[in-house]
Amino acid sequence: MKATTAPLPRALQPLELIQGKVSPGSLDDQVLGFPARRPPRAWYAALAMTLTALGIGSFCIGWTLYFGIGTWGNNRPVAWGFGIINFVFWVGIGHAGTLISAILFLFRARWRNAIARFAEAMTIFAVICAAIFPVLHTGRPWFAYWLFPYPNERSIWVNFRSPLIWDVFAVSTYFSVSLIYWYLGLVPDLASMRDRTPEGLRKRIYTVLSLGWRGAASHWVHYDKAYLLLAGLATGLVISVHSVVSFDFAVSLVPGWHMTIFPPYFVAGAIFAGFAMVVIALTVVRKTMNLSNLITDNHLDVMNKLILAMSCIMGYAYFMEGGTAWYSANPYIQHTFMNYVTGFYGWAGITTITCNIIIPQLFWFRRMRRSIPAMIFVALAVTLGMWMERFVIIVISLHQDYLPSAWHRYIPTKIDFGVLLGSFGLFFTLVLLFARVLPVIATSEMKASLSERQA
């Protein structure tokens, strides 16, 4: 074999994932130094905004609890409305975090290390936001524990053949697994925080949370194995969760829902929306926290490529939906499909296609993938588009189904929008607090890859 001297084409060269000189020590000072410093004014301003949104949302939730979900726009036949639109939207946002932290870990994609922690945190917060909606939508939130199978004095059990009970298991398992996975990754970093924090309350909190981690080699052996196993388990889980969410639709007989494409289509859409949210958050975080040397343009470039790939899968899924409608020769399904773009809510379908399929095509251009304003524009468009997609699936399919005498339009109320705003407020409040008190980058993973780079 003769060694070639010609340089590899750019696409095959390993990505430069760190700019400038970074050592394990300087990494700690850069990433773990935040909690000790006073937060900048902008942080307080952002927190005030998110808390205001959260306050409005809490008021609307209180209003809903006091007067009932009659204050929402839900009606018959559109009984699902905002409650389920927002649930599916938020669960989907969470999927990007698990994809980045688990699936890309199994694929040994090095660029994930710098953004995995942040994306995992976003997963947990997104699932918290998602859980609000179905619980309120039950109409009797104080009986939410009836969703779980437990021995009760009524001698009845849940129906294990119902996709709704699959949902309960899938989402609660997803939350538990994400939390454990996130916490496991945090333990070595919390130990670093503990050892660099001066005596006081903060040190005590970090001490307890880090469980006395001392980085023993005999511990790392088990830890590495556990992390690998969890990544494998979470990979299967993340695919199952949004598949199960899609079963809520696909297992029913409503025209526009009863399709076999739904599970893969939902999983791809979830990852798509989640990546957009991660890109929005990362551009803000790396600017305000001065992490541009660790979360580089290369990272965002790769993320944007994935958004583009997902966008193409979404386009294929929309096309397949049309194909299913056409091939079914079923006038109801064909009517529903045409309704997506031409009916009373046709603007929602047009927005969905524009935001999800057309706008992300900008990312074919390298300049667009590396331009912050362009990527924020696309990511916001995708977020809007994916929310609209769930609106299209739920509202348009339900408001005109098999029985024309039952057709009814759906108009959301102020309370609906207020609760949605509140969920965004909750999400970003949690993100801001997380960025203040916990390490936003998995430093122990970064240090390992730094040492391998030296070798």
């Binding site: 700690d28 009932g68 050892d195 469980l211 088990h222």
Partner: protein, 377 residues
């Protein structure tokens, strides 16, 4: 701090050097080898002689147990304890049980992989480990890798270990003594913590109780719970008569409940005769209806000795009396239809066939209780 040595730590800056040093020192058997590093170092585990983790097998086992338990539970719930047919599926439709089975498998496996790893295999939390109280720990969790030679008995040569580490390229060496405390958590501290939690619970409970009693707040969620809807057996302000249940529209005739063509039982006695043939099934039906509706007051043999209404001073009719025996069948039917004295009308509860069947059964009772010698076979 005591004089006994727990371990000697040698600090290294680079991963390769600590692996080399571990390989050199291990054959000398100076003490138990351990390493403390800020990140996992490949090859270090083998260099200090650690066995591969057995976590994989444990997780596999727990995953299989989770899957089996989930399927067993779903089968027991759906096919045994609460057998409810939905969608025409068999009671044990295992295909529909797969999603929950999968989730429970992942849940069991994850809890094992995450929590068993931390708590069982690594024996955390452990706040009192001597290394945590060494000077080097600040560097260990930051950017230094420590190779540790740990004492296994009284005959530990700390100075020899120190020299060995320095010879193999350690930048700095620290001798970590055994801490003087027996256990890191003091009993007093533990008791204080428990007492503080109990006190906080008591104060919070008392505060909530006082707030609920003193401040007259509207019970929360009242509107969502009490809906403005009609309840059949509840009072309602919506209709003028104050009833939730609606009476039938005037002139409504229910199937099997034709309005009677007579005004009094006596009139019925002259007008009607029993249309049902006196057969075994009719008599059985009559017995069922009699025992369900009549026997409670008139007695199981129809002798007017009540089972229940005695306490209220009721005087139900004695069917065995000569007076009632002499009445025509239509008269008894008329009483059932219109009611008599304290007895309400049974027209709403029993359709005409049931009422006539009861009349037949009453005749049987009358005959049975007044049997003559010739009746015996």
């Amino acid at each position: 701090m005591s004089n006994r040595t727990f371990a000697v730590l040698g600090l290294f800056a680079e991963a390769d050097k600590i692996v080399d040093a571990a390989r050199q020192i291990r054959p000398r058997k100076l003490g138990r080898l351990e390493a403390y590093t800020p990140y996992p170092v490949h090859g270090l585990d083998r260099a200090i002689g650690l066995a591969p983790s057995r976590l994989g097998r444990l997780v596999m086992l727990m995953g299989v147990i989770g899957a089996c338990l989930a399927l067993l539970f779903e089968w027991w719930v759906s096919a045994v304890d609460y057998p409810l047919v939905t969608g025409g599926k068999p009671l044990f439709s295992w295909q529909a049980f797969v999603p929950v089975m999968f989730e429970v498998t992942v849940l069991f496996a994850t809890f094992t992989a995450g929590l068993a790893m931390l708590f069982a295999l690594n024996k955390l939390p452990c706040f009192g480990h001597p290394v945590l109280h060494s000077k080097a720990i600040k560097d260990i969790t930051r950017d230094r890798l420590a190779l540790s030679i740990e004492a296994t008995g009284e005959a530990f040569d700390a100075e020899g270990a120190r020299q060995a580490l320095l010879d193999n390229g350690a930048e700095a060496v620290e001798i970590v003594p055994v801490p003087t405390w027996d256990r890191p958590l003091s009993l007093v501290g533990l008791l204080r913590t428990i007492a503080a939690i109990v006190a906080a619970c008591v104060v919070a409970g008392a505060g909530l109780f006082a707030a609920e009693k003193l401040i007259p707040i509207v019970p929360p969620m009242l509107h969502m719970h009490n809906q403005p809807k009609l309840s059949a057996f509840r009072e309602s302000a919506f209709f003028a008569d104050g009833r939730g249940m609606r009476p039938a529209v005037a002139g409504t005739v229910a199937r099997g409940h034709l309005p009677p063509a007579f005004a009094t039982p006596e009139e019925a006695g002259t007008l009607l005769s029993n249309p049902l043939a006196f057969t075994q099934p009719v008599a059985e039906r009559g017995r069922k209806v009699f025992n369900d509706h009549c026997a409670i007051c008139h007695g199981t043999v129809g002798d007017g000795v009540p089972l229940l209404s005695l306490a209220y001073g009721g005087k139900p009719g004695n069917f065995l009396s000569n007076e009632i025996r002499a009445r025509p069948a239509g008269h008894i039917f008329g009483v059932l239809t219109l009611g008599k004295n304290a007895m309400p009308s049974y027209a709403a509860d029993l359709d005409e066939n049931d009422r006539w069947a009861v009349v037949h059964y009453i005749r049987i009772l009358q005959r049975a209780q007044n049997a003559r010698d010739e009746d015996l076979p």
